[in-house]
């Protein structure tokens, strides 16, 4: 219990440090949000002015925008650690390396949730979607989707952080792995917005939760190896 409390304390400290660094380097967070908003806008232009078509495509467009902007966000959270070899220093502290993964995943989750909430609002405004009534299901979908994305993103950001071509390698490695998450999140969002007439929302949320658990366990178990050369 003591060990768990210590690990949790270390993870929270790492997440707080990331949040502080991210908030102080405001331009990066703001740029990511603007990028996501522009992606949504461009999707709108690409699909044309037909509002019904936009509303039908909205769940997919929302999650694609979250994924694209999320790639930037999780990559950036590991870039903080490349300043002056901070990642090597972090790996040399006498701490459980699962706590480092948990801390980075927590800060990734916070960034993803902010992104998700802003983009959900942007989708509602840009595509004329009424979220009233669907928000509890949407909140659950967003939370589970972001947990999974942060779990996978933290691991792959750790894999690619030392690579010269990390900006290319991160999406290349990560996108195939998050395909099931994307599918389940889009389906759950569409079902939530459609009022869940066939009662399938629970199954999609269960799939998301299962994916999250598997990815969190795998990430926590293997991330420590990435810190060693």
């Amino acid at each position: 219990m003591n060990g768990f409390r210590q690990t949790a304390g270390v993870a929270l400290t790492i997440a707080r440090k990331d949040a502080l660094a991210e908030l102080r380097g405001k331009h990066a967070a703001t740029s990511t949000l603007f990028f996501a908003a522009i992606v949504l806008l461009l999707f709108g232009f690409a699909l044309g002015p037909d509002s019904r078509r936009l509303q039908e495509a909205a769940p997919g467009l929302l999650w694609l925008a979250i994924v694209f902007a999320g790639l930037l966000a999780v990559g950036r959270l590991h870039l903080i650690e490349t300043q002056d070899a901070a990642l090597e220093q972090l790996a040399l502290y006498p701490i459980d390396r699962r706590a480092i993964y948990a801390g980075k995943a927590l800060s990734g989750l916070a960034a993803m949730l902010v992104l998700g909430i802003v983009l959900l609002g942007a989708v509602a405004i840009l595509y004329g979607i009424d979220l009233a009534g669907a928000w509890p299901a949407l909140a659950a979908t967003l939370l589970l989707g972001c947990i999974g994305f942060a779990a996978v993103g933290t691991f792959y950001a750790g894999v690619t952080v030392r690579m010269a071509a990390r900006e290319v390698m991160l999406p290349l490695l990560m996108l195939p792995v998050i395909a099931p998450l994307l599918l389940a999140a889009v389906k759950a969002t569409a079902t939530a917005l459609g009022g869940d007439p066939f009662g399938e929302l629970g199954a999609w949320l269960q799939l998301l939760a299962g994916y999250d658990i598997v990815m969190l366990i795998a990430g926590a178990g293997t991330y420590g190896f990435l810190l060693e050369e």
């Binding site: 660094a21 090597e88 790996a91 006498p94």
Partner: protein, 257 residues
């Protein structure tokens, strides 16, 4: 000059016969086909200050990085206080601190915030954290800079802050890689003073440096590396590890040398 408390990790093993602070056996590290370390067998006694000398590329930094657990050896073994660095890295990290060429600091955090973060990672008791940070900042003459972001620090100030991090928690072995680099004369005297004090309280110090003359009054002995091998051992506190050289030839063959 104010002097902060030096915290020492309790020694392992029987008090009358403690394990060597560092023991390496045919320690080698390859980067690709190039051998940065090509079979180093050394023994460093606890509580000694030892200079690691040698030209660029001699293997000094690689040796320190292996002992710090930052990288794994390719061949051979290394022990710190009797603990194998590859198998018991988590325990080794509770006893060792490494001052590298890079400061490992976060630019967007202030000096005090960086130390506060380090204190949590190092397991410093919460009720002692602020006092230790204040003392450490004072020791390295950065007390008035505690609220400044590190992004605005010079290389010398970063080095001082990295030194302050070493003062936060107990250690038994300190690995210093070019600790005088980037420092002004005051800073260099601070490093000299700290090396003396660490040695006095029984902390083993390994200092990789090109400043042999500067280190001579502070160290018990020295090791000269060249081409990843031990070229010379002198003084007390350090010796060639008598364990055989059986691994050297296959390793060198693998390295294509």
């Amino acid at each position: 000059m104010p002097q902060t408390t030096i915290y020492v990790a309790p020694s392992l093993g029987p008090p009358d016969n403690p394990p060597p602070a560092v023991a390496t056996v045919e320690l080698a590290r390859l980067f690709g086909r190039s051998a940065a370390l090509a079979g180093v067998s050394l023994r460093v006694e606890p509580g000694c200050a030892i200079a690691l000398l040698g030209p660029n590329g001699a293997g000094k930094t690689t040796l320190l990085r292996i002992l710090s657990t930052a990288i794994r050896p390719t061949f051979g073994s290394a022990e710190v206080d009797g603990l194998d660095v590859a198998r018991h890295g988590d325990l080794v990290r509770t006893r060792v601190a490494y001052l590298s060429h890079s400061s490992g600091l976060y630019d967007d955090l202030t000096a005090a915030e960086n130390l506060r973060f380090a204190a949590t990672m190092l397991g410093v008791p919460r009720d002692e954290t602020e006092r230790r940070i204040t003392e450490a900042l004072e020791e390295v003459a950065l007390r008035t800079n505690g609220a400044q972001r590190v992004a605005g620090f010079s290389a010398g100030m970063r080095k001082r802050l990295a030194l302050a991090r070493l003062l936060l928690s107990p250690h038994s072995l300190l690995l210093l890689d070019e600790p005088h680099a980037a420092l002004d004369e005051d800073g260099m005297r601070l490093v000299d003073d700290l090396i003396r004090r660490w040695r006095e309280v029984g902390i083993t110090v390994l200092v990789a440096s090109h400043a042999a003359d500067r280190l001579r009054p502070m160290v018990d002995g020295s090791v000269r590396l060249d081409g990843g091998l031990v070229a010379e051992v002198s003084g007390s506190g350090v010796s060639l590890n008598p364990v055989g050289n059986a691994l050297t030839e296959p390793m060198m063959a693998a390295a294509g040398q």
